[in-house]
Amino acid sequence: MPTGRGNSTEQRYRALLEPHFGALYAAARRLVANPADAEDLVQDVCLKAFQRFDELETIEYQRAWLLKILYHRFIDIQRSRDRSPVDHAETGSDSADPDSLSQGSLQPDDILEREMRADVIIRAMDILGREASSLLALHDIEEFSLEELGQLTGLPVGTIKSRLYRTRAKLGRLLSNEQIQKPVLTVVGGKQ
């Protein structure tokens, strides 16, 4: 965490973060349908960025770094919730932003199906683990190049390519697994 540097640190922090803020929020909303949860996720990433500002300032691919933190944090939250006896019904398709249902050319049924599909994909990403999931997401969703991911991770491009291929295949196999397609049970009441 930055210490002892007064307002100039905060100004530099804001200046560094602002160009990437839209990308962070958009990524969060793709993962979390509920706007309030997406804002919490973005805030977690912004706090982490502030705590590690000294490191962030020296990184070339700052947006990729921030998005990687966001995906890691999302998987952490997801895992924590998956293991909780209480289902968090405020995320996922149950709470899709009503405004989004009236946008675009998709019909409500199509949107609902896509959101349910996204829930299953997110469960599979959770199983894949945060390193593999974030690498795949940074390439396939956020469109970072192999070279940029190589710079970010310190891995050779060939290694990144083979990891992406293996992760996609594993994701595909997971999605073919009937177990993962089953809906999560929701705890609606009860007593001990």
């Binding site: 922090y13 958009a26 977690d44 396939d140 969703i141 291929y165 295949a169």
Partner: protein, 211 residues
Amino acid sequence: MNCEYVSDNIAQLVAGTLSAEDAVACKTHIAACRDCRDALHGAVAMRTMRDRGNAAPPAGLFERITTEVTRPKARERAPRFWLGAAFGGALAASLLAAAIALGILVRPVALPQDDVARFSVATYETRPMEIAIDVDRPLAGAKISVMLAGDVEVEGFGSLRELSWSDDLESGVNRLTLPLRAIGEDVGQVVVRLSHPDSEQLFVVKLKLDS
């Protein structure tokens, strides 16, 4: 046509931007290759996530979040130390220590050096664990490290397994507060290490998962 070519072009194949000739060649390979079929399935899934949109942040959100993050209260999510009483022995930094339930400091418990404190964590709530470090004289530049073993995390620090701070400890009791949360069933333990050029002290807190 091979798996590498399919892998290099799978995003374009899914997006429909690959040339017709290459698309046919890829599909022919995929039809005969189980791994590439699975990879295509995975690539389509990623495309589904990508197609969930590109929402713009609400007006004022950047300002609200950056103000929240940079104000002192937000920074206090990191562990903090408070000051207190006295302590004996150079840097035998005997940890007075304390396992707490539900974030309430019940009472400082003087534990033998070789005893082990215990603390209950839960998967569905964050519980502040407080540890009192009692020193007999000010210690400038003491390093406090917290090492987590098992399915537990310090709130705000994600999956970091070791956190370290350098701090000036004042004479007396210095309290360290760690907001802990279980992320699995095997919660393990927390090891707090206080180190200084003169000495080093370890303190172990065994964790228990509240069901």
